[in-house]
Symmetry: C2
Subunit: 230 residues, 2 copies
């Protein structure tokens, strides 16, 4: 793991630095590093030394079971890693970079000391966890929907603003997040467009008002006037 | 919403009361109530007055979109509701009981005051959120697996202890949690048993060592000696 030259989260612009907005008491503790594919962030059973924030790439939490299966507990592309280890005595799994990744490390003891010395900081920390919890629960509800079209509509309704969602990831990445193959995503987007439910302009998906056909109907509708092609 | 006679979370036994273990500064603020089907816990747009903990039943967080869809954001059978509204200015959705439910209400202002006056309490709160976040992420990873058998094995590996999982819910409820139909769950359990991967005794599922066939193989194997029937 190579530490980068500049460990100060506040010296970079928002686009470069997702830590902007973090309280300075916490942000000043973070060190930004790069991990190569296959590098470990920590190993199961070791005493926790840090909590982490993944800025980019993908870190996987894994556990090899006593029965020899390799179980992926979590894939983190942006967010906390080992935040639950803040008060644990051991890491409960391995963390490994599945892609070249950029990760912020925060020394656990100093984070705990900072949180214990300031209730406002501890509440800020709790609020970040609550946000991530809300996001994870939204995704859970979405994955429990059977139809691909229903998952897409749910994502636009819940992640978008006033029925308009700008995709931040590639279609392939978005398909994986929705638990779909890229082909199923393309087919379903085309169906939603044909049925006049969703307008697609580049990376923007817009819900259209008063749909007259159910989202999963297979019949071909007319392309609404003004709608972009997929 | 009818308040029950006894609002003290610590006057009941563990079996009756999942709040045992909560710090007394927080637990003493809770009032236990019952909701009938269709009763609202809160409505979107209102100023938050309480955070909640669902003890039993099912509370759904819902939002009616500007386009007329009813979107379920979250189903809570045991856990926090509106924990993210602790510092919000408005509830961002409706909360309604989908089943007869038992819910603890905590006045938001008094919870915030208690958390702000004690970093240890705020850290305890953050730890509960981190636990729920870890659980939600485990379930997300499980639902992203394509095969029903893989989801079952993942649940035993991650929710069980040393490869042994005791089911706390009915098979029908467990199927819903796994994103499966009850029929698919039964078929997959039977296949895992036939292939010698899992032993099933009543509500206990046990991983067997050294499996020789992949979990999704359709071929009929011999029932291992000593294994219970489904």
């Amino acid at each position: 793991m190579d530490s980068l030259r500049n460990p100060d989260p506040f010296s970079r612009s928002t686009a470069d630095n997702p830590m902007v907005g973090w309280p300075s008491d916490l942000a000043c503790l973070g060190v930004r590093s790069r991990l190569g594919v296959g590098e470990n962030l920590f190993l199961r059973g070791r005493v926790p030394t840090h909590v982490f924030w993944v800025e980019s790439g993908e870190v996987q939490l894994q556990r090899t079971s006593p029965h020899g299966h390799n179980v992926i507990l979590q894939r983190v592309r942006e967010g906390f890693v080992a935040e639950a280890s803040l008060q644990a005595t051991r890491y409960h799994c391995d963390a490994v970079a599945a892609e070249p990744s950029t990760v912020w490390s925060f020394p656990r003891g100093r984070v705990l000391k900072a949180l214990r010395s300031s209730p406002d900081l501890a509440l800020w920390w709790a609020t970040r966890l609550a946000e991530q919890l809300r996001s994870a629960r939204l995704r859970l509800e979405r994955l429990s929907l059977k139809g691909a079209c229903d998952r897409i509509l749910h994502a636009i309704e819940t992640e978008g603003s006033d029925g308009l969602l700008s995709l931040a990831s590639t279609r392939r990445e978005w398909a994986a997040e929705l638990g779909l193959t890229p082909e199923a995503l393309y087919r379903s987007l085309a169906r939603l467009r044909r049925n006049g439910l969703v307008q697609i302009c580049g990376d923007e998906l817009k819900l259209l008002p008063n749909p007259t056909v159910p989202p999963n109907a297979g019949s071909l509708g007319e392309t609404p006037r003004g709608a972009c092609q997929l």
